[in-house]
Symmetry: C2
Subunit: 240 residues, 2 copies
DNA sequence: TAAGATTTGTACGTATGTATT
DNA sequence: CAATACATACGTACAAATCTT
């Protein structure tokens, strides 16, 4: 039986991590933007003095972090450094929770979303423009149409929350919320749970949010957002 | 000059991604916990019918996501699926922002932390126990001692915020906050900025938070947290 | 202490698939 | 269509690290 893994090797960095760092540093030093072409594997081999395998393994690791993007037969590009790794990691660890069922993990994600959105909506209420409210209202109208037809509207839901926080000028916020939203949806999908049991109710929650924002009612907007999340939580508990 | 990258290949999944999925599925199916030993590379080669290089590249990608952990000469283990990839990705993309200076990116991260902590502290106020408050107070006392000596105390700061949200029973929250905290610190470190120009002031902010929690003052606790973040933002602006 | 077995790390060669010119 | 450039995949050999005996 193998013993506990040791925590040796604090002195020296592994070669693979070193190559990863060097490639990242290369991107930073050369001021390459997302989409820019990176040196070929052969050039990296030569520049870094390592074999093709080592280069490829490092690039694969960076690809998993969305720091580079590899295109077969074309080349390696600087990636978007999106939150894709967060989505993959959270999805995996939720699905791999064997000790408890996954509803606890989903509740954790939902609580983070809830705190974020209830806090952010107050700031949105102060900065949102009429034009943005019009766009939000258009999305809600489409939600209501889908709801009357009994159809779920995950894409509209996602678009609403993304549009809602666009006025903050904080690019991280919509990406982070979208990541949590995607994990929530993927896990539920993998578990074969239904998408949205009551689309009309969901549409009304969003309508109430826009209405409160339109009248400049900060408290009301936060309250409407809270109601929205209470509803999602109630559904999750029912399915749990 | 190469044109825009195409978005072909939606039909078939790349071999490497397939192997990654298969390894993740293997962990889920066999109900392996973090720390459990995975099949050796040779076994995976055989089971999945691919070469060693392909197995290794897939494992390297999963290692970057902290889904597996590879130990030279020992074996491959199931990883913690921590938020390390988020830290790496956010740090990289902040340092790689060439269009704007990084202060804008740091302000975005700070805003997320701020909204989260100001919302969460209200829930903490309702659930925190006397024993937890005692531990928090002990940390603050050490902060004040360090502050009087003019020393910065990043570890105590981190421990405080981690301890603060332990009572929520939401494991994701402290991990997420720690991730943002680490990115913030790493980027500032890479830019050669000072750690904490006024430790005594920082200690006082934390003292005020505990004091408000002790008296059960929800509004006061949120207010104290807000003051804390206003202070951090003011410092960041001064350095910007 | 030392030798051997197991496992991962690195390197090289070759063939194939894919996109550009 | 042909030629070129590049990434992808496989196989093999050996080095390095770790555990067992």
């Amino acid at each position: 039986m193998p013993g506990q893994p040791r925590n040796s090797r604090t002195s020296e960095e592994s070669r693979n991590s070193r190559i990863q760092r060097q490639v990242m540093q290369l991107i930073i030093d050369r001021r390459l933007r997302a989409g820019a072409l990176l040196p070929t594997e052969a050039e990296l081999m030569e520049d870094l003095g390592v074999s093709r395998n080592s280069v490829r393994e490092a690039l694969k690791a960076l690809q998993a972090l969305d720091i580079v993007e590899i295109r077969h037969g074309y080349g390696t590009y600087v990636g978007e450094a999106s939150l894709t790794p967060l989505i993959d990691g959270l999805t995996f660890r939720t699905l791999a929770r064997h000790d408890h069922d996954d509803s606890a993990a989903l509740a954790e994600i939902l609580q983070v979303r809830e705190v974020l959105e209830e806090g952010l909506i107050r700031r949105v209420a102060a900065t949102v423009t009429e034009a943005e409210l019009d766009r939000l209202e258009a999305v809600v109208s489409r939600m209501e149409a889908a709801g009357r037809a009994g159809r779920a509207f995950p894409d509209l839901d996602r678009a609403f929350h993304e549009l809602l926080y666009a006025s903050l000028g904080n690019d991280l916020v919509p990406q982070l919320l979208a990541a949590f939203w995607t994990v929530f949806r993927r896990v539920n999908g993998a578990r074969g749970r239904p998408d949205d049991p009551s689309p009309e109710l969901t549409a009304r929650w969003h309508r109430d949010i826009v209405t409160a924002l339109r009248t400049g009612d900060v408290e009301g907007a936060q309250q409407a957002m809270a109601v929205h999340f209470r509803g999602i939580e109630a559904r999750a508990r029912r399915l749990g």
